[in-house]
């Protein structure tokens, strides 16, 4: 009889602790934009209350640690996942994300990179309940508190530069088109907006398409820019920087063989008095809408 009571008390104590922890970790209604430290790659997490947007998954499973430390333990649902373009350092981490989290919407290019990892991603996405949406310039996704506007690629750019597999007519299937250009050209560029705060998220765009992006007329003054292509000089241009005129520039970069971030880009940012934050120096970079910056 006595042990029975002991177990009942232990059970009740555990139950109470779970409730307390769940309340303690209940998220605030406030924007949190996190550039996850995933090494050489991109994984950007935007949180407002219980809503999460994840832009890219990085080159490895480190993105899971980032999600674990910034989401409450009981929330296993990510509202929107965007894959800017199908390169390894952007999609690899998404495989485990789709295995472990419930994803509502998955926005990704139709481009087929042909790599083995991408076939695995296609399979897990296919086996999940996520709705696949091809990107369309001007599309807005989210709610009144936090939303994403898709700036690029435009319909015409995709039509001119992608060859679609004619057998598959469903735009909701991944990997239906090919191209002779590098996948970077098709990076999905978005503007994240919450209250007065605006962030320009640029994937791996290259100088050659900067004009096309500016020509959409959707780029204006922002607070935050995710520097394209890990700070490669084959990325950010002065024109785009002038147009976006950010206060903070975040570079998602790790140990790499190409010397990212390039000196030219760091100098350019310094010239325009933009504050530089690098994941290889600071770890996860957390920015909130009051622009307070925490190192974690």
């Amino acid at each position: 009889m006595e042990t029975k009571w002991k177990y009942s008390y232990a059970f009740l104590a555990l139950f109470a602790m779970v409730v307390w922890l769940a309340v303690y970790y209940y998220p605030k209604d406030k924007l949190k934009l996190i550039a996850c430290d995933v090494g050489q790659g991109d994984a950007i997490l935007a949180i407002y209350g219980k809503t999460q947007f994840l832009i890219d998954g990085g080159p490895n499973d480190k993105v899971l640690d980032c999600l674990s430390s910034h989401m409450p333990f009981w929330d296993r649902n990510i509202e929107v996942v965007i894959l800017t373009h199908p390169d390894k350092d952007h999609f690899s981490g998404l495989i485990e994300i789709f295995k472990r989290y419930e994803v509502d919407y998955f926005i990704a290019n139709s481009l087929e990179p042909g790599s083995q990892g991408y076939q695995v991603l296609k399979k897990v996405v296919g086996g999940s309940d996520a709705v696949v949406i091809p990107p369309k310039e001007g599309m807005v996704i989210g709610n009144s508190m936090m939303h994403l506007e898709i700036v690029f690629p435009t319909q015409t750019f995709q039509k001119e530069n992608l060859t679609f597999n004619t057998n598959v007519n469903d735009s909701k299937v991944l990997g239906t088109s090919t191209t002779s250009k590098s996948a970077n050209n098709f990076s999905i560029v978005t503007i994240l907006e919450s209250g007065d705060f605006k962030a320009l998220l640029t994937g791996d765009i290259v100088p050659g398409i900067t004009d096309e992006i500016i020509d959409t007329g959707r780029i204006g003054k922002v607070d935050y820019i995710k520097v394209p292509h890990h700070g490669s000089k084959n990325g950010l241009t002065e024109d785009l920087l002038k147009k976006a005129n950010p206060e903070i520039a975040v570079i998602s970069v790790g140990k790499n063989q190409w010397g990212h971030p390039h000196k030219e880009i760091l100098n350019l940012l310094a010239e325009y008095n933009v504050k530089i934050l690098r994941t290889d120096e600071l770890g996860d970079i957390v920015v909130t809408d009051e622009s307070e910056i925490n190192k974690e």
């Binding site: 059970f11 922890l21 499973d61 295995k99 472990r100 990892g117």
Partner: protein, 358 residues
């Protein structure tokens, strides 16, 4: 009469030791460096996943394969490569056949359930404790477990088998007569051993547990030492290469040290709060035998290990029992399984927090 029985038993041990020796020398591997090899085998040691590759051990030969396609515990594979110092160079995966056996399916399903229900590293900790699954443990957490000497709880450990065996017996004895309960518990132990990856420490614990239970059922007691030696010899008879397996050696040495020293040490540490006492006395006792081996093989040893173990070991039993119950319930209804699993969260948080602290 007494001497006759004693003698008969001696002959039994002599025969079994001779058999083991014969098996050992007749099965020494004969691969030479530079030899081309094609291995067709079932994967009996869980592969470890890295960023770009996976580490696989087949019939005592180690090699790395590309990360995809993913090889799982229990799958049938054909691999080709060239032998170099006991490793396979340039290995190529010729064929991969997924194991669709019910046990392997259940294991996969349970691991997936833990990963879908909890964030990391909580999910890995639970699936490590319940199923000995170490494939997906985040690198950082793995390093912390090693440096604090607590990694033994998440890799296939005999402790889990003993725990599950005890739990099964207590449960079945409530509804069945003792002898039938023991038989059911025995079946349970071996299903669990298969479920948690057939590693040496697990088999050791399963054999010892089976011997102990049968002895109890047959009314014979105090067989612990004989059970220990018998299980070691039986295992070597089946797989002589285990003699060099670190997990095998550590498992037996640790168990022997426990049997020799645990009771005495527990008396010495009477002043420690009850909740941590057993954890401290068992880990201190095990350390006596294990420390020299660890020092010899790794050249380093974590001296805080007994204290970290004392602080975390009490959580192992409740996490395992809750995790397993949640897993079984999740097969029937996922949402309720998830709710039950949340009960482990305060315990895993404590475990992770302590390991982080040191």
């Amino acid at each position: 009469m007494f001497t006759k029985i004693w003698k008969r038993e001696n002959i039994f041990w002599l025969v079994i030791i001779l058999l083991v020796l014969f098996r050992y020398f007749s099965s020494l591997p004969s691969y030479k460096t530079g030899q081309k090899l094609r291995i067709t085998s079932k994967v009996l040691v869980e592969p470890i996943q890295y960023d770009d590759s996976q580490y696989i051990k087949l019939v005592g030969i180690r090699f790395y394969l590309p990360k995809y396609p993913e090889v799982n515990y229990g799958d049938n594979v054909i691999v080709e490569g060239i032998i170099e110092d006991g490793k396979l160079k340039n290995p190529v995966l010729i064929n991969l056949e997924e194991n669709t056996g019910i046990i392997y399916k259940v294991r996969k399903k349970l691991v997936l359930f833990y990963h879908r229900a909890l964030p990391e590293p909580h999910a890995s900790l639970v699936s490590g404790l319940v199923l000995g699954s170490k494939a997906n443990i985040p690198t950082e957490f793995w390093d912390q477990l090693i440096s604090t000497g607590t990694v033994h709880v998440v890799v296939a450990s005999g402790m889990n088998v003993t725990l599950v065996a005890g739990f099964l017996l207590t449960m079945t004895i409530l509804i069945l007569p003792r002898q039938k309960a023991v038989i059911l518990a025995l079946v349970g132990i071996w299903i669990y051993a298969l479920l948690s990856g057939f590693d040496a420490p697990i088999i050791r614990a399963a054999i010892m547990g089976s011997l102990a239970f049968s002895a109890q059922a047959l009314g014979r007691v105090n067989l612990a030492w004989r059970a220990l030696f018998l299980s070691a010899l039986l295992m070597l008879l089946v797989n002589p290469s285990w003699i060099t397996d670190l997990g095998f050696i550590l498992s037996f040495v640790a168990t022997a040290s426990l049997m020799l020293f645990e009771a005495k040490i527990r008396k010495l540490v009477y002043f420690v709060p009850a909740i941590f006492r057993e954890g401290l006395s068992t880990s201190l006792a095990a350390q006596i035998g294990v420390t020299p081996i660890l020092l010899l093989t790794f050249g380093r040893y974590s001296f805080i290990s007994p204290f970290v173990n004392a602080l975390v070991l009490w959580t192992v039993a409740p996490i395992t029992v809750i995790g397993m119950t949640a897993g079984i319930v999740s097969i029937i209804t996922m949402p309720i399984g998830k709710l039950i699993l949340f009960l482990t969260y305060p315990l895993t948080s404590w475990f992770i927090w302590i390991v982080n602290l040191f």
